[in-house]
């Protein structure tokens, strides 16, 4: 099946105090139609920068895409003019952010905000038709009484309802790809599970692809088909959900899985990854995980490993795994 989105060797930098800080370092990632990809990593690993790159939303004064391609249905987003970007954003690719309340405009009715997005991308549609389509979008995300809710202001909705309204806005133009950046982090667990169910429903009913960005491994294990683990601007492991959770190979992935306080188990002591993530402005020469890695080899100090397919469709960036497979 042809890939809907293909990121090739993406590099993103931010500027801080006259210095260029690498945020994304040579990321390759492909999203198939109707696939949910979970992009997991800790804060500062570059996962949100990838999302912003796809949307071409990196503020020009703060950073830029240095090199690489982002192919969406065969066309390179990186080379788009501002007009072309506007046509794609919200129309072909929708996005929802972590904090729904700060993403919604407090002085407009939620329904009108959704209508605005529809009208912008479909200038030929009449007012009444746009209104009808935004009510349909509200119904799609299971907001009760969508006709009445159309006239609500954001502050009149609960956190979960606001996030639903954001989803409705992102879905109103039937995008082929939805980028969800920590969409449930600010929500209670009961509401979180409802939103996750919604995302799975969109995937199967609308054959939409979803790029799910989160720090929560449990969420990814619930809904993702493919999982990419990021560390210090690189993808360090990429495989199907089953392989990542049943047979993790990168020491960072193993460490992460062990440090999750999971409700299915109880340990007297959580296994912890020692140390902290490296300063992105001062990365080690070798593998960025080397200073924290329990299984580091001497080779890890000198050069960063490349991404290698260890078994079928299971990619790992780790010297130890490369040595194991090569005997």
């Amino acid at each position: 099946m042809q890939n809907l989105l293909e990121i090739k060797d993406l590099n993103v930098e931010y500027y801080k105090g006259g210095q260029a800080i690498p945020a994304v370092r040579g990321v390759d990632l492909a999203v198939k139609p109707g696939e949910i990809i979970g992009l997991v990593g800790e804060s500062g690993c570059g996962k949100s920068s990838i999302a912003l790159s796809i949307m071409r939303l990196i503020p020009p004064k703060q950073g830029k895409i240095i090199s690489g391609q982002i192919l969406f249905a065969g066309r390179d987003i990186v080379k788009f003019s501002e007009d072309e970007c506007r046509d794609y954003r919200g129309n072909k690719i929708g996005m929802v952010f972590q904090e729904a309340f700060s993403s919604l405009n407090p002085v407009f009715k939620v329904g009108d905000q959704i209508k605005e997005a529809i009208k912008l991308h479909n200038p030929d549609l009449g007012q009444e038709e746009c209104r009808q389509r935004s009510i349909d979008a509200l119904r799609l995300v299971n907001i009760p009484q969508p006709k009445e809710r159309y006239g609500s202001y954001p502050h009149q909705l609960s956190g979960g309802m606001q996030q639903r309204a954001m989803l409705a806005m992102a879905l109103a133009c039937h995008p082929q790809l939805l980028i969800a950046d920590e969409p449930t982090t600010a929500l209670d667990v009961t509401i979180q599970s409802q939103i996750l169910d919604l995302l799975v429903k969109f995937k199967s009913e609308l054959t939409m692809s979803i790029l799910m960005i989160t720090h929560n491994l449990a969420i990814v294990s619930q809904i993702a088909d493919t999982v990419a683990i990021m560390y210090a601007g690189q993808i360090v492991e990429l495989a199907s959900r089953e392989k990542i959770f049943n047979n993790p190979l990168h020491p960072y992935t193993i460490g992460l899985l062990n440090s999750v306080p999971d409700i299915a188990t109880r340990k007297e002591r959580l296994v912890q990854i020692t140390g902290q993530i490296p300063d992105p402005g001062n990365l080690p020469d070798g593998c960025p995980f080397d200073p924290r890695c329990p299984e580091a080899l001497t080779a890890c100090k000198d050069a960063g490993p490349l991404m290698v397919e260890i078994e079928e469709q299971h990619f790992v960036r780790c010297f130890k795994q490369i040595n194991v497979t090569q005997g």
């Binding site: 720090h215 491994l217 409700i263 109880r266």
Partner: protein, 321 residues
């Protein structure tokens, strides 16, 4: 291992008036905490869980004596904390400390790390200048931070390091109870595990008791000996940690446990039920009535009370199973 009760909460209530209009006429009350009873033993961790707005933070603030209650009692070492005055109150404030969720806004950005850690020592006049320096080194060692960090400022530190500074500052007073309000919620997973382990080590070393407030049942399961589940200002279920997950009785506890995604098993349970903010506050009857799948007529009419159901297991429900 669990010893005598350190803290006892008896029928604690906190109501806030709802005011309307220019004359602030009282038109009703919000029952933030509505008749809560529990106790915490020496060297015990009690986990307090619930969704946002259920009153768990208010409960922590009441116990720290940072808010006056509407009614009820809190006994610490058999003394009613709300009747403490003068030096007795100061002594209480030393023994009970609070650690907040957001390590970014709870440390003063203009103070150096040294000043932040030593502020409680200065206020309570515990050590002279020379001893203070040794004490700070000792505290930093305890929380696993290097000594040279003291000359820096909070903005130079990561979230995990800030939370460690918060702990070091608290430990300078040798407290007996630490009220930790979502202390690991804003931290990354690998750092979260480090801090949870640190909490456990410190408890062993200093016989500390914790009231561990969190919305994350997974975290609470790993740190708490007993867990209290709160809903709309009331405790719905209280049991040993293992017991609560193995045999939850209250429909709300079951709903919470089912909602938490696990990395071990994939669920396809779709939860019915409305969001709590969309529901009217019940005037009488069970607080959970409108969301409950097993609600009966008497649930609407009569308020259930927290009753024993099995050994050390308490449930507030008319229809537990």
């Amino acid at each position: 291992m669990i010893m005598a009760d350190l803290l006892e909460v008896k029928n604690l209530t906190k109501y806030y008036p709802v005011e309307k209009g220019v004359f602030k006429q009282s038109v009703g009350t919000v029952k933030a905490i509505d008749g809560v009873d529990f106790s915490i033993a020496v060297k015990e961790t009690l986990g307090l869980v619930g969704e946002s707005g259920c009153g768990k933070t208010t409960c922590g603030r009441l116990i720290a004596n940072l808010l006056p209650p509407t009614g009820g009692q809190v006994l610490f070492d058999d003394e009613d904390i709300y009747s403490l005055r003068g030096k007795h109150l100061t002594a209480f404030r030393k023994k009970v400390q609070v650690l907040f969720q957001d390590p970014f806004s709870s440390l003063d950005p203009r103070q150096s790390i040294y000043d932040i850690i030593t502020e409680p020592i200065r206020i309570h006049r515990l050590h002279n200048k020379k001893d203070t320096r040794t004490k700070v080194e000792e505290l930093l060692g305890l929380v696993g931070l290097p000594n040279d960090i003291v000359n820096g400022y909070p903005h130079q530190l990561s979230g995990g390091q800030r939370q460690r500074i918060g702990l070091a500052r608290i430990l300078s007073l040798n407290p007996r109870l630490i009220i930790a309000d979502e202390p690991v919620s804003s931290l990354d997973i690998s750092i979260q595990a480090q801090i949870i382990n640190l909490f456990k080590d410190l408890q062993q070393k200093y016989d500390l008791s914790y009231l561990f407030i969190s919305h994350d049942l997974g975290v609470v399961k790993h740190i708490a000996h007993r867990i209290a589940v709160m809903y709309r200002g009331k405790i719905m279920e209280l049991a040993d940690s293992e017991e609560l997950f193995a045999r939850p009785f209250h429909p709300y506890t079951k709903m919470l446990i089912q909602s938490i995604p696990s990395i071990r098993t994939r669920k396809n349970a779709v939860l019915a039920g409305l969001e709590k903010d969309e529901l009217p506050v019940p005037v009488k009857g069970c607080a959970f009535y409108a969301r409950c799948a097993k609600a009966e007529d008497r649930c609407r009419e009569m308020v259930p009370i927290l009753e024993p159901k099995g050994e050390k297991h308490f449930v507030c429900c008319w229809n537990p199973e």
